[in-house]
C-alpha cells in the first residue's frame, strides 16, 4: 500500500468523526415522512365518532407530535449537512464543537421510530397489515434505531467527544477485533 494513500491525520475525513454527510439520517427522515403523510391523508378521510378523525383531540395532537418530531429532526439533519459542507465553521466556532451528524442520527432514529408507531396507530388494525405500508415504516424505523453500532454506542461516542477522551472499553474492543 503506497504511503500516499495514508489518510492525513489532520484531514477532515480523519478528524471529522461524527461529522460526515448525514446520508443515513436523511433516509431515516424519509421513512418518517412517508408514515406521516400516510397518516395525515388517512386522518382526513376516515370518519369515526361523527367527525374526520383528525378533528378528534387525540388524533390531532398525535399528528401534531409527529409533525413536531419530523421538523426538529429535519433541522438537526440540515444543520449536520451544512456543517459537513462547512468544516471551517467548527474552527471559527460558528458551530459547537460536537459530532453533529452522530447527534442527528441518535435523535432522528428515536424520534422517527416513535413517529412511525404513532402514525401506524392512526390506522387501527390496518396499521399492522402487510398489504399496507405502515407496518413496514415501523419496522424500517426500528432497524434505523440499531443501524451502525446502535444508539447506545453512538451516545458513548458523543460522550467521548464532549470530554475529549477515549473509552478504555472501546479501545479494548478495537484491539480484539
Amino acid at each position: 500500500m503506497p504511503g500516499e494513500n495514508l489518510l492525513d491525520a489532520d484531514s477532515p475525513l480523519a478528524t471529522g468523526a461524527g461529522r460526515h454527510i448525514p446520508q443515513d439520517q436523511a433516509l431515516n427522515l424519509g421513512i418518517g415522512r412517508a408514515a406521516y403523510e400516510a397518516a395525515l391523508d388517512y386522518a382526513q378521510l376516515r370518519t369515526q365518532g361523527g367527525r374526520r378523525i383528525i378533528e378528534h383531540q387525540a388524533i390531532g395532537a398525535k399528528l401534531a407530535e409527529i409533525a413536531i418530531r419530523l421538523e426538529v429532526v429535519r433541522a438537526a439533519i440540515w444543520q449536520a449537512a451544512w456543517a459537513s459542507d462547512h468544516p471551517d465553521a467548527f474552527a471559527d466556532r460558528s458551530l459547537p464543537d460536537l459530532p453533529l451528524t452522530t447527534i442527528a442520527a441518535v435523535f432522528a432514529s428515536e424520534a422517527i421510530y416513535r413517529a412511525a408507531k404513532d402514525a401506524a396507530e392512526c390506522f387501527g388494525a390496518m396499521g399492522v397489515m402487510r398489504d399496507m405500508p405502515l407496518q413496514k415504516y415501523v419496522h424500517d424505523a426500528l432497524v434505523c434505531l440499531h443501524s451502525g453500532a446502535g444508539n447506545s454506542d453512538a451516545k458513548l461516542r458523543i460522550a467521548e467527544a464532549l470530554a475529549r477522551y477515549r473509552r478504555p472499553a472501546s479501545a479494548a474492543v478495537l484491539a480484539a477485533e
Binding site: 370518519t47 369515526q48 365518532g49 361523527g50 378523525i53 378528534h56 387525540a58 388524533i59 398525535k62 408507531k117 401506524a120 396507530e121 390506522f123 387501527g124 388494525a125 396499521g127 399492522v128 397489515m129 402487510r130 398489504d131 407496518q135 415501523v138 419496522h139 426500528l142 434505531l145 440499531h146 453500532a149 446502535g150 444508539n151 447506545s152 454506542d153 458513548l156 472499553a169 472501546s170 479494548a172 474492543v173 484491539a175 480484539a176
Partner: protein
C-alpha cells in the same frame, strides 16, 4: 393482599409451563415465518392443548368445564404466551366467549352449543364486531344511529336474515361458532339497535373471506366474514333483541368493563415480557465484548433494570386485576392494566431487540416479540381504548 397460589392454581401453571416449553416454543418461530397467513395455523398444537384443558378451562364445572378462576386463567395465559403470544391468544379467545356463553346464553343454548364445544378438540369460538367502516365507533359509540357496525339482520318468521360483512375477526377461518353483532334497528343508536346472534360456521349464506396478513401474531387467524342472506334461527338470538351489550349489563358483569378481554391482553403481554427478560438476561450473561460479558456494562444493566421493573410492575397489576375479577370488585383497573400492558410490552421487547442488536446479533425471536408487541397498539393501547378506561373512572 395474599398472592400465594393454591395447589390447583400452581398445578395449572406448571402444566401450562411444561406444555409451553415442550410443545409451543419449538414451533413458534417456524409458524411465525410462514408467508401465507392461512398456513400459519397448526391444528396439532390446538388438539394437544385442548386435551390438557387449555381450550375449555373457562367453562363452569356444572357444564363440564374446568371452572378455573381468573387468577388461574391469567397464570396460564402468561405461561402459554411466554412461548408464543399468538398461540396463547388462540386458546384464550375461546375462554373469552366461554365466559359469554355461561353469562348470557339461555339454558337451551348452553345445551346446544357448550356440549359440542366441550367434546370437540377442534371446536374454536369467535366473535364478530369490527367492520371496515366501524372500529372505534363500536368501542365508543356515538349517539348517531349511522355510526357503528352496519351488518343488518331482519326477521322473517322464525329466522333472521343477515347481510353485510365483518373484518379482522379472530378465529374466523378456524372457528366453528361465532357470536355476531348485527343491527336489528338501524334507526336506533348502536347500543339500542344491535342484537347478538350465535352463528355456526355451516350457516347457509355465511362464508369466510380473506385471512388478514399481519406483521405480528402471525399464527392468530383474523379473517373477513361475509353474510349474503345468511339464515339464523331466532333460537340463536343471545339475550334480548336490540340488547347486544351483554358484556356490561345483563350478563352480570360487575367488574367495570369487559369481563375478561382486558385482563386477557394484559396477562398475555406479561408472558411475552417474561420471555424478553429471559432472553436479554441470558444474552447479557454469556455474550462477551472486549473480553467482558455484556452484563458488566452500565448501559446494559440499566436496560435490564428497566425491562425487569416494567415486567414486575405489570405482573403485580395483572394478578391484582385477576384477583379483583374473582372477588367481583368494581374498578377501572382491568382497562388501565390493558393500556399499561401496551406500554410495557412494547418498551420491553424493544429493549430486548436493542440489546441483541447492540451485541451485533439479529435475533429472529427478538424481532418476532417486537412485531407481536405492536399488535397491542390497536387492541389495547390506542387512544380510544385509553379513553374508554378513563370513562369508567368518570362514572
Amino acid at each position: 393482599m395474599d398472592f400465594t397460589l393454591s395447589n390447583e392454581q400452581r398445578s395449572w401453571q406448571m402444566t401450562a409451563r411444561k406444555f409451553a416449553e415442550e410443545e409451543i416454543r419449538p414451533i413458534s418461530l417456524e409458524r411465525d415465518e410462514i408467508v401465507d397467513p392461512r398456513e400459519t395455523f397448526d391444528w396439532e398444537i390446538i388438539k394437544k392443548g385442548s386435551k390438557l384443558g387449555f381450550r375449555t378451562m373457562a367453562v363452569p364445572k356444572e357444564w363440564g368445564g374446568h371452572g378455573t378462576d381468573f387468577v388461574t386463567q391469567a397464570l396460564v395465559m402468561a405461561e402459554l404466551a411466554k412461548a408464543d403470544s399468538a398461540i396463547s391468544k388462540t386458546f384464550s379467545q375461546c375462554w373469552k366467549w366461554s365466559h359469554l356463553i355461561a353469562a348470557a346464553c339461555s339454558e337451551e343454548q348452553k345445551r346446544r352449543f357448550l356440549k359440542p364445544f366441550l367434546e370437540d378438540d377442534t371446536f374454536l369460538l369467535g366473535k364478530g364486531i369490527s367492520e371496515p367502516s366501524a372500529g372505534s365507533d363500536n368501542r365508543l359509540p356515538p349517539d348517531d344511529p349511522k355510526a357503528g357496525l352496519k351488518l343488518r339482520a331482519e326477521r322473517h318468521g322464525d329466522e333472521w336474515i343477515l347481510n353485510g360483512e365483518k373484518c379482522f375477526i379472530a378465529n374466523a377461518s378456524v372457528g366453528k361458532l361465532f357470536f355476531i353483532d348485527a343491527r336489528t334497528d338501524p334507526n336506533a343508536p348502536l347500543k339500542q339497535g344491535t342484537t347478538m346472534f350465535l352463528v355456526p360456521r355451516d350457516t347457509p349464506g355465511f362464508r369466510i373471506g380473506k385471512v388478514f396478513n399481519k406483521s405480528g401474531w402471525r399464527f392468530y387467524q383474523n379473517g373477513e366474514m361475509i353474510f349474503e342472506n345468511a339464515r339464523v334461527p331466532h333460537a340463536n338470538v343471545v339475550g334480548p333483541v336490540n340488547g347486544s351489550d351483554m358484556k356490561a349489563q345483563q350478563a352480570g358483569d360487575r367488574t367495570g368493563g369487559d369481563l375478561f378481554g382486558d385482563l386477557e391482553l394484559a396477562a398475555n403481554a406479561l408472558g411475552v415480557c417474561d420471555d424478553a427478560c429471559g432472553m436479554a438476561l441470558a444474552l447479557a450473561r454469556t455474550k462477551k465484548q472486549g473480553g467482558r460479558v455484556l452484563f458488566e456494562q452500565q448501559l446494559v444493566q440499566l436496560k435490564l433494570n428497566r425491562m425487569h421493573l416494567l415486567t414486575e410492575a405489570l405482573r403485580s397489576f395483572v394478578m391484582r386485576v385477576a384477583w379483583e375479577h374473582d372477588h367481583k370488585v368494581h374498578s377501572a383497573n382491568a382497562g388501565l392494566a390493558m393500556n399499561f400492558s401496551t406500554d410495557v410490552i412494547q418498551e420491553v421487547t424493544e429493549l430486548n431487540l436493542d440489546l441483541h442488536a447492540g451485541a451485533g446479533i439479529f435475533d429472529r425471536r427478538a424481532d418476532k416479540l417486537a412485531r407481536d408487541a405492536i399488535i397491542w397498539s390497536h387492541l389495547a393501547g390506542d387512544s380510544v381504548q385509553r379513553m374508554k378506561a378513563t370513562r369508567r373512572l368518570g362514572k
